[in-house]
């Protein structure tokens, strides 16, 4: 049964190859492959939920030689989010690119990106992760430059260079680990790794490389132009999924592989960078003139929130309190995934209809598309962290953790971040209450508005009121904290 682990990577890869070979029918092939991929991803999540962690080694050569695949609670949760979000993006893209020449270029690259994404979540081998990250970075940059506009190409050129630098730094860390411990498998390394100077150096290199790729605060400069100038479905995928892959790796390496050497000092450094990201990202989002630039800076801020969990996790002994914090961190990552994808898809519709996305002149268009504006409202409330969204539960547990561990200084950061986020979300929403004529009906174009609405709704109602499954999948059970 563990052999099925390869499917979420193999199916989109084959789909991508077929879409390349048959450009005329790339949309059809793409949509079918998207359906199959999300089904395979969700089935893996289901298997992990029912039977616990899955692991296999490809090629039948055993761990040190062969490449291992593993799916535990964390990867299963992110795999499920990625499957659902990517499926919604695919349906949206079907109509967004309908009839445009870009469609034949979009689908193959999109399926390769999806295959790499699933590969990152399932990989258990450090070098395999390097190749996955490269495939992810390359296809994301190529997709970002699809519009062909000057700003998009310049932004994606810089994104590609930054991605290469990040991957090389990560690879040097892997080289040092292989030098010292002679294996690339995460499981084996975890057993052999001890608090030696080489391990600390490798940790520093790998985490800084990945931090560059996940746009953690001082290294975030490349993200806003790249995500704001990409086509709507691509920027949704970039912000909701691609950035999450690097964060997922940092979380896994930090809490599992490098557990023996990650101490409170290093974790607090990450926390401080996260706090900087929250404040700087929210401030820039408030001042952004374009809707998609606002969403991109909001991503920088939301990634900051995720890093606030590191110092709290480092200061708590393993137990239900620490499990709750870990699950809350995963919940916030999932909610941001759904909400940001919904927000970008809706923003793309507004841009497509208005011809621009300058916030100050969006009033009329927003009012004529009630479903889209409603998605922006729902997704916005999830980004701010207002109840009943999943990020509200995440922030509740984050603040509780801050109180319980006595690290109260994370509270003003969270509070200020929430207020700034409320300011920039409602700056957009207040445009939707102008003196425009009443819209005739709620949904104007079902095939694009429904995915955005469902994504936003999932981040608010689904994760807000039923976050139990996240704890269950992570195997923390229902022990009342």
């Amino acid at each position: 049964m563990a052999d099925l682990l390869i499917l979420p990577v193999l199916v989109p890869l084959l789909g991508g190859l077929l879409a390349t070979a048959l450009p005329v029918r790339s949309a059809l092939v793409g949509t079918l492959a998207a359906l199959a991929t999300s089904l395979s991803g969700l089935s893996i999540t289901l298997l992990v939920w029912l039977h616990g962690d899955l692991g296999t080694v490809l090629g039948g050569w055993g761990v040190p030689l062969g490449i291992g695949l593993s799916a535990d609670g964390l990867s299963a949760a992110l795999l499920a989010m990625a499957s659902l979000v990517a499926l919604a993006i695919s349906i949206y893209a079907g109509s967004y690119f309908a009839g445009s020449a870009q469609a034949r270029h979009f689908w193959p690259l999109w399926l390769l990106l999806w295959s790499a994404l699933n590969g990152v979540f399932l990989a258990a081998d450090l070098f395999n992760l390097y190749v996955m990250l490269e495939l992810l970075g390359l296809s994301a940059a190529a997709l970002g430059a699809l519009t062909g506009k000057r700003e998009a190409i310049a932004a994606n050129l810089r994104y590609l260079l930054v991605g290469l630098l990040g991957s090389l730094t990560y690879l040097l860390g892997v080289a040092l680990l292989y030098t010292a411990y002679g294996t690339l498998d995460i499981g084996l390394l975890g057993e052999r790794l001890g608090p030696t100077p080489i391990a600390a150096t490798a940790l520093a290199l790998m985490v800084s490389g990945l931090a560059l790729k996940t746009a953690l605060f001082p290294l975030h400069f490349w993200l806003p132009p790249a995500h704001a100038n990409a086509p709507a479905p691509v920027s949704a995928a970039l912000s909701a999924l691609v950035v999450k892959a690097s964060f997922y790796l940092i979380l896994r390496l930090w809490t599992e592989l490098f557990a023996p050497i990650t101490d409170i000092g290093a974790a607090t450094l990450l926390g401080l960078l996260g706090a900087g990201a929250v404040l700087w990202g929210s401030w820039r989002a408030l001042r952004a003139q374009r809707l998609k630039l606002l969403a991109a800076y909001s991503t920088v801020a939301q990634i900051g929130y995720l890093f606030l969990f590191f110092p709290l996790l480092a200061s708590l002994p393993p137990g239900t309190a620490r499990d709750d914090l870990f699950a809350a961190c995963v919940l916030m990552a999932l909610t941001h995934g759904f909400a940001k994808a919904g927000f970008f898809l809706a923003a793309g519709l507004v841009q497509q209809k208005a011809g621009h996305d300058r916030i100050s002149e969006l009033g009329g268009v927003a009012q004529r598309m009630p479903a889209t504006t409603f998605s922006i409202a729902l997704a916005g409330s999830a980004l701010v962290g207002l109840p009943p969204s999943g990020s509200f539960i995440g922030k509740w547990v984050l603040m509780r953790g801050a109180f319980e561990t006595g690290q109260w200084w994370w509270l003003p950061v969270t509070v200020l971040g929430t207020l700034l986020a409320a300011a920039y979300v409602f700056r957009v929403l207040s445009r939707a209450f102008g003196l425009e004529p009443t819209p005739l009906q709620f949904v104007t174009n079902a095939r694009t508005e429904i995915p955005a609405l469902l994504l936003a709704f999932a981040s608010v109602a689904l994760l807000g009121l039923a976050a139990g499954p996240v704890w269950a999948v992570l195997g923390f059970g229902a022990a009342p904290a």
């Binding site: 052999d3 193999l10 991508g16 190859l17 296809s139 040092l176 100077p197």
Partner: protein, 233 residues
Amino acid sequence: MKRDLALLLGILLALLAALLLWALHATLALEPGPRLAELASARLEQTGVSNPVTAVLLNYRAYDTLLELAVLLAALLGIWSLGPAPAGYQRSGPALAALVDWIVPLAILAGGYMLWVGGHAPGGAFQAGALLGAAGVILRLSGEPSAGLPGEPAQRWLVVLGAGVFALVGGGLLASGFGFLTYPPGQAKWLILLIESAATVAIGVTLTAAYVGGRPGSGTAHNGTGQSRTVQR
């Protein structure tokens, strides 16, 4: 200002390098042992090839190689999505044309040999593919705008061939119960050869198409700005 910023960076990176060197030295001093060398060569004969690197590439860590072909394809798709190919080069003079008529077939032949020898001696799919790519580059430089590449449909199928065969073989093995990319004992050699030859052709076409640098569009390509560029000197 530029000058001392560069200097500051230099000092910082020198410190980083020193730190890394010290860490490397500390590790190597502990004699960390043969790592995977012994294990790889010990089970070499079960892999169906005698060249250890090819064994690792196509048997132990075949998954990496499959993804690497996908990376190559992603790069080419990115190049194709950016626009039509720039104008070709000036028709070469008689001397170069004659040289090209000799070198290109030779390169293709050498590529084939490189592919075959890869099983038991240094060589393999990537080096062979690179030689085919070199042949394409030479054709392109000698004034052949299509660099020896077929029309768009054929190019698309060829480019997809490498990763396609690899994934289909893997999927087939998975479906027939062996597990993804777990070669049955007897057929490892032939399956690897099949995958390698498909990969060689795919890599050759991909590298050449990358060098051409644009969508295999209709007729002589002119650059994005619409007017046909004068042929580059």
